[in-house]
Symmetry: C2
Subunit: 343 residues, 2 copies
């Protein structure tokens, strides 16, 4: 699916880009890769969709994966930081689940190697779903008799109703949450009318400014690395940018907050740029409201570039062209709750 | 759609019932009636489905109608009482939204005449969605540009983006949330194999015990009255039943809590008995866990009848036959949130 920009034809503009920098423009694949030990199947995806939308995985029975990763909107929760059980606030902006299947690591700090690993995290996080431990979460699911046949359909007979299979099913479902055929994708595939003049200016500026040194690849989140190899970058780099203080961008220590390693302070997994029009507000702390301002912040804090308002708008308009087609989904039907399973 | 029990044929059992009591067994219609000023249209239903599932109607952007009326499960939230914004607890068990279109009034105390009226209530309830007032809720929706075309499609051009139309759209969607073709419905329509022997015993017991004096009609929630005419009954009637204290059934004053009228103390709208297997726990306070126990409570507190465990189980098994077919639904696609619309 990799396709150099020049392949689509060689207008003056495209040739300039080709000679000025090595940016490779890739369209989004329509199918996400799956690990060898968890091939995507219809039965797993259906079970995963059920579990993803089931609030009974949480202490109060009110918070599901979909609460903060709302697939009916942009796969996030349109809040600066999320609200978990008992109304408590989380510390970071919910990343979108759409196209997360293409990342080589998960969470803002890349601490989970795979979607399967990631799926187990929020369940026991006290500011997210708040279950005491994973066995307690699975006890909830086992107490709902209607789940057993779905686990058997997905994983065969025997003792299959366990957390690893639940995580596999959720991950299999998430691998279907991809958004191909954005205007950008159509442009890269050869439809030169898919982007307007302002978006083309923004695309050129994206390459010239150096955004693509980190935001590369099909989802603009870095090179295609093996699962478990996070593509990390320091943020903010230019600590003297006034925007760092304005948006409080240096308070969170990033990866060091979970690893405790001083050398990993302010390291972050590079996030995707797809569907940004659906995932405001921006940054790990959700402090930046508009896409044009987010572009200005990144140029200033990472590349020491002060963009003009016009440049920031052009760039934002290009990024808007990365909003793709969301899959149409049927609602899952969740099995009923026995009355003695109180939440 | 009204069909007397005897129409299906006259076995010994059926004739006994017919002579002993006047219970009329009705199947659930497959289409819900709509008021003259809000005919159900495809465009209204689609908009209503979006609004019903949109958490941005709530103060924190985390609670939608679907949070407590989860249509992926039984149209309720499988909790004794609901959790609203900031994690606060509501006072009563969330009633199912499924088949609510057939009720002549809404809320546990019947204080809303129509689905349209009901839809406006939770938005500003501080323990539910918690918006300051209805104009603030509509300001949220107006700030999301993607909603305007859907309102226009549903209600025509002009100033149509208002709370009355939002409520009409939600009500139109709710009128599609009906669950026909339960085993009971198939039995009433003539399929004598649809109920087993235990369910038939329970059905007879239902009639003989007098449950149907209140739980009559297609959804077992009372006679077909005009919209705005709540079918109210006193609960508990037998204040000396030990089950009243055991389940704290008399603390909530019912309709008097909202009207302030002493003569309306402990008056409640008779709830539907359909899909009870999906809506545990039971009663207005969600204090009763199992369906058989709920049957025992009702017989004791309303009819001064002490059912044997076998009778309660037979009756519960009949009620299980009222679980119908839930409509398959596609997920709505919610328009994106502008970054400056902070929640």
């Amino acid at each position: 699916m990799r396709r150099a920009l020049m392949l689509g034809g060689c207008t003056a503009l495209l040739c300039v880009w080709g000679s000025v920098n090595a940016q490779v423009w890739e369209a989004l694949p329509t199918v996400a890769p799956a690990p060898a030990d968890n091939p995507t199947t219809v039965a797993k995806v259906e079970l995963g969709k059920m579990l993803f939308h089931d609030p009974r995985f949480s202490e109060t029975g009110t918070v599901s994966c979909a609460s903060c990763h709302n697939v009916m909107e942009g796969g996030d929760d349109h809040r600066p930081t999320s609200v978990g059980v008992h109304g408590v606030l989380g510390g970071r902006n919910a990343p979108t689940v759409y196209n997360a299947a293409f990342l080589s690591s998960q969470f803002w700090d890349g601490r989970a190697a795979t979607l399967e690993d990631q799926a187990k995290g929020p369940i026991t996080n006290p500011v997210e779903m708040g279950m005491k431990d994973l066995p307690a979460a699975m006890a909830r699911i086992r107490a709902i008799p209607g789940y057993a046949p779905y686990f058997t359909a997905a994983f065969g007979p025997g003792e299959v109703l366990n957390i690893d299979n639940a995580a596999k099913a959720i991950a299999a479902y998430e691998r279907t949450l991809i958004t191909p055929n954005s205007p950008y994708d159509r442009f890269v595939r050869g439809d030169k009318s898919a982007l307007n003049a302002q978006q083309l200016r923004g695309m050129q500026l994206f390459a010239e400014t150096g955004c693509g040194s980190c935001h590369q690849g099909a989802i603009f989140a870095g090179p295609a690395l093996a699962a478990g190899t996070p593509f990390l970058q320091k943020f903010p780099v230019v600590a003297t940018s006034p925007l760092v203080a304005q948006y409080d961008l240096a308070r969170d220590l990033g990866r060091a907050a979970s690893t405790g390693k001083p050398e990993e302070e302010h390291l972050w997994r590079v996030p995707t740029l797809r569907n940004l029009t659906y995932t405001a507000p921006y940054m790990h702390n959700g402090a930046v409201k508009s896409l044009a301002e987010a572009v200005r912040v990144m140029a200033s804090t990472q590349l020491a570039r002060d963009l003009t308002p016009g440049q920031a708008t052009d760039l934002a308009t290009f990024l808007e062209s990365l909003a793709g087609e969301f899959p149409q989904q049927t609602m899952p039907r969740l099995p009923p709750t026995p009355g003695d399973l109180l939440m």
